[in-house]
């Protein structure tokens, strides 16, 4: 007899991050701990932590002085997938369909490349009421 995979409601973590680069690691650590508590692998933890940091850093770095409102981070963890949503109220930036690495000695421009490389789905939705960076990563052995 084949066992049916157990499905349960996804766990959700919602955090507000001040628009300050120094606060991002705290949120990344909280996300790491949350995902670790739901059985994510070391690779999933490392990939989600880095993509979350890069996403938040981008939102903060693109915020003008008048746009420095908190960023909302939502993490949804199910048996099959991890979803990260980063919502900001900045004017945003143009999301490349496929980011390329910059020339070797450029000091910037690797953040979106890393995001796109480490998750299975990444897209950025801009609107006047806020921008959402939506990231999804399939879980190893997910159902």
């Amino acid at each position: 007899m084949t066992e049916k995979p157990v499905r349960s409601s996804p766990a959700i973590l919602r955090l507000s991050v001040p628009c300050d680069l120094k606060q991002v690691r705290t949120v990344a650590q909280a996300t790491h701990d949350f995902l670790a508590g739901h059985g994510c692998t070391e690779q999933e933890l490392a990939d989600c932590e880095l993509t979350l940091v890069e996403g938040c850093n981008n939102a903060i770095e693109h915020a003008r002085t008048s746009e420095k409102t908190p960023i909302i981070v939502e993490v949804v963890c199910s048996n099959s997938e991890i979803e990260l949503r980063i919502t900001d109220n900045t004017s945003g930036f143009d999301w490349p369909e496929k980011a390329m690495l910059p020339k070797g000695e450029s000091e910037k421009g690797r953040g979106v490349f890393l995001i796109q490389s480490l998750v299975d789905y990444a897209n950025y939705f801009r609107s006047k009421s806020g921008n959402i960076l939506l990231l999804r990563k399939k879980r190893k052995g997910g159902v």
Binding site: A46, L50, V53, N57, I60
Partner: protein, 100 residues
């Protein structure tokens, strides 16, 4: 973070994280310690638990300073998660990575 001078080499160790919050400070402190005389930098990453694109940018900035003096930057013992990011971003082609 700990820094020591050995001849024309600046040795940096006990780096735990290299990200947007501290990358510029890391670069500036290291450059100051290089002064005008040091042309090589060795960075022991064995204790590093996290690096992001800003941290990579700081390493490249030091690489450019060292190269301008005909020196180099060596990265020592990066743990697997850091090594993965170095390889993914092709940084392993720029830096000499030394594993014990």
């Amino acid at each position: 973070m700990k820094m020591e001078i050995h001849g024309d080499t600046l040795k940096i160790s006990e780096v735990k994280e290299l990200g947007a919050a501290n990358a510029n400070a890391f670069r500036d402190v290291a450059r100051e310690a290089m002064g005008d005389e040091r042309k090589n930098v060795e960075i022991d990453l064995s204790r590093a638990t996290f690096i992001d694109s800003c941290g990579l940018g700081a390493l490249i900035a030091l690489h450019k300073t060292a190269c301008a003096r005909q020196g180099n930057v060596k990265l020592l013992n990066p743990p697997p998660p850091v090594q993965q990011i170095l390889e993914l971003t092709r940084m392993h082609r720029i830096f000499e990575i030394v594993k014990a």
